[in-house]
């Protein structure tokens, strides 16, 4: 009798463990195709601890940035980490390149409508390499060339999808003339489509 009870208890324990640890297998669906439908651009003020969208558009020239917001047509109900869904997400067209232009004379070498992407850097976060083995580690700001952005967003979209994607580009060169500046961001896709956004006018202060 004791043996039977032991066997029965073992089966109950096994079933319970299975119910706690096993995930429902995914049923295979067609990949969910989404599209980048629009972009907006805002002036960023980074003079404090963290960057915020400027309300006054009067910003220290050394603390200026542009916030790019990319909108997708993904349905609200499937937002989040890809692993939470059985769907495979895929953009109908990937970003090929992102370019930033000045709509005013930036300096003597960069007149109106020049590309000045090289003066901006994409703000990312990563761990301090020296502390890679430390359990208390947290991410710090890192600054990547704009040419890396298309690859980063491609990698990110493999694991995470959102209706609204916000990324920041910070300026690391001050213009010669501080007044009335505007910038334009062009996002070129592989199929030839271009999405453009223009920032509000910004007045720089030293």
């Amino acid at each position: 009798m004791k043996k039977i009870i032991n066997i029965f208890a073992g089966i109950v324990f096994f079933v319970l463990m299975q119910s706690f640890t096993c995930e429902e297998p995914c049923q295979i669906h067609e990949p969910m195709i989404y599209k980048y439908i629009a972009i907006t651009t805002d002036n960023l003020d980074n003079n404090k601890e963290y960057q915020i969208v400027s309300e006054t558009n009067i910003i220290y020239s050394k603390a200026y940035g542009i916030r790019l917001t990319l909108y997708t047509d993904i349905h609200d109900s499937v937002l989040g980490y890809k692993k939470d869904y059985c769907y495979d997400f895929s953009a109908d067209d990937s970003i090929r390149v992102i370019k930033i232009f000045t709509l005013n004379d930036f300096d003597s070498e960069h007149p109106k409508d020049s590309e000045i992407s090289e003066f901006f850097r994409f703000l990312d976060y990563s761990e301090v390499p020296e502390f890679a083995s430390n359990v208390n580690r947290r991410s710090v700001r890192t600054y990547l060339p704009i040419k890396d952005y298309s690859e980063i967003i491609k990698q990110e979209s493999k694991t995470f999808i959102r209706k609204k994607i916000e990324d920041d580009f910070l300026l690391f060169k001050s213009p010669q003339n501080l007044q009335n500046h505007q910038f334009r961001i062009d996002i070129e896709f592989y199929k030839g489509r271009i999405l453009s956004g223009t920032t509000p006018i910004v007045n720089f202060i030293e």
Binding site: N47, Y60, K62, A63, G65, F131, V140, Y143, L171
Partner: protein, 267 residues
């Protein structure tokens, strides 16, 4: 607590003032056996390392400050009447006093920056000693003296930190890291000392410990300042290597497990 101390003091006074004929029996019963002791006390550094960098001095000297120790495990096996082998483990908890000090120091050094901690390493144990060696015994009136010479290792805590510094009115950020670079985490250590023990009960005694520790610790702090935009790094090294000497005083309890029961029965 007061009651316990009162009972111990009364017991000691009673034992000291009473000529007890059973004393000889008890003394011989403490010849061969296992002496277990535990105690608490203070470690006092006899020399302190110092460089001209206040931040690393704070992080390192915290390891050298006056500190409470706990001897949780100590056992001496007396296999001869006057000779035994001892194994001991002693540790000092770390209180983290250096953290606010370092924080203030960083604020003073970089007034035009906002600071954040991407990383902070802090071991709970400031210092640990694991020792092994010889112990002997001298009886002086009602007091036992246990001189000892032990060798073993000292392990010092790792205190490390990194700060992310964001410039005010600018996009510029830096990461300043303070990394402890130790070639030998386990420093070979000598320990000479003695315990004064008075047995106020048959096998239970109170001990007063006096110890001297010496070890060579090879260690430096490397400060790396990284410009996170250009990824340019500047490095500075502050050396804290040297011979460290400590003196410690402790008080606690002893318990003796005799292996001579048969003798007692005969008596």
């Amino acid at each position: 607590m007061k009651t316990v101390i009162f009972i111990i003091v009364c017991s000691v006074i009673y034992q000291l003032t009473t000529q007890n004929c059973e004393g000889a029996v008890r003394d011989s019963a403490r010849d061969i056996g296992l002496l277990v002791r535990t105690n608490i006390g203070f470690i006092m550094p006899m020399n302190k390392s110092q460089t001209y960098n206040r931040a690393t001095d704070l992080m390192y000297n915290n390891l050298e400050d006056y500190v409470t120790f706990f001897r949780i495990f100590d056992a001496t096996l007396f296999f001869y009447k006057y000779l035994g082998v001892e194994l001991s483990w002693k540790f000092s908890p770390q209180n983290g006093d250096w953290k606010p000090g370092l924080d203030n120091e960083i604020s003073t050094m970089y007034p035009d920056f906002y600071k954040d901690y991407p990383s902070l390493t802090f071991d709970d144990m400031k210092q640990q000693n694991i020792m092994f060696g010889l112990n002997s015994k001298i009886k002086l009136a009602n007091i036992f003296i246990y001189p000892r010479f032990l060798v073993g290792g000292t392990v010092l805590a790792e205190n490390e930190a990194a700060y992310e510094l964001k410039a005010k009115n600018s996009n510029q950020t830096y990461v300043v890291s303070y990394l402890q670079n130790t070639s030998n985490k386990f420093s070979f250590t000598y320990n000479a000392g003695f315990s004064l023990v008075y047995f106020f009960l048959n096998n239970v005694g109170v001990n007063f410990d006096f110890d001297y520790y010496q070890f060579y610790n090879k260690m430096n702090y490397e400060i790396t300042n990284t410009n996170m935009v250009t990824m340019e790094k500047t490095k500075e090294i502050f050396n804290y290597s040297g011979t460290k000497r400590y003196f410690s005083i402790g008080i606690g309890l002893n318990y003796f497990v005799s292996f001579q029961r048969s003798k007692k029965k005969v008596k």
